[in-house]
Subunit: 140 residues, 2 copies
DNA sequence: TTGACATACATAGCACTGCTATGTATATTG
DNA sequence: CAATATACATAGCAGTGCTATGTATGTCAA
């Protein structure tokens, strides 16, 4: 699934910080985790993530250390700092405010759809998300 | 409330398009609607919105026309195009995919918080959002 | 009548961003 | 031994847009 760059830029920081709050991790594993969390919808590239990690480190939100796995592989583990935790809380608050706004207008649209679809008056009482699917081609 | 620019950039297009899907509107009214939808949390500036509108017009997502209100005021109304509707559907899908990812990791974090807060074992069964507030200083 | 404020739109320039393409290194597997 | 997986790095190509500031005009209170 393709995502516009603004959305990736807006979401990568909170996603990375949240994943690191789960527990210390390294680049490759973070990419795998994102894939997992998104049910395979989001595929971050190496080239994208590492500059993000470097930036977060520069900003003081995370701290890096090199470790050697049992296999002998070197990994660069990142740990979220207390500053990073504060930032994540802030980013989360902002995301949720914007998400609520979007949901509000989408809900308003589904109500509009309901009022124009009198033939489906019974369906109007069903969960609005289901309702949207029901109206399919009519409106979003 | 302050929002980082990436988040505004990522959300302004779907918000504008969705508001116009509710019905034709003009700049000033759109700003008021965003304010309303966000319960006053989001305050868009003129200087920000108009370039957005011009861009959306250039991209073919909206179409503009000048109208004169009864008071004699000239207003530039925007109408969403069918192309804009398609784009909104796509943007919505993307937003929801990313939102789901964020929710997934936040949920995972709340489960982590639950497992480390055995003294609050009873609260673990309460809605996770409430739970997060309950843990307040402990974790997000 | 006049100035403050509300309504409504415009945009230059200052300030800046980051992902694609590409590369290195090394463990694992067929 | 070559292909693939694991793991990290970054130059450069390609590009962005909001802040600060300005125009225009209707409304309202003193």
């Amino acid at each position: 699934m393709e995502f516009n760059k603004d959305l990736i830029a807006a979401s990568s920081t909170p996603i990375v910080l949240a994943i690191l709050l789960e527990g210390d991790s390294y680049g490759y594993a973070i990419i795998k985790r994102v894939q997992e969390l998104s049910r395979g919808h989001m595929e971050w590239t190496d080239g994208m993530l590492y500059p993000v990690l470097h930036r977060l480190e520069r900003l003081g939100y995370i701290k890096a250390r090199w470790e050697e796995a049992e296999s002998g592989r070197r990994r660069k583990y990142y740990r979220i700092t207390s500053q990073g935790k504060a930032q994540l809380a802030e980013e989360r608050k902002q995301w949720q405010a914007v998400d609520a706004t979007l949901r509000g207008v989408w809900k308003s649209l589904s109500l509009l759809a309901a009022s124009t679809a009198s033939l489906a008056a019974t369906a109007a009482h069903i969960d609005s998300r289901t309702h949207l699917h029901y109206c399919g081609g009519n409106i979003i």
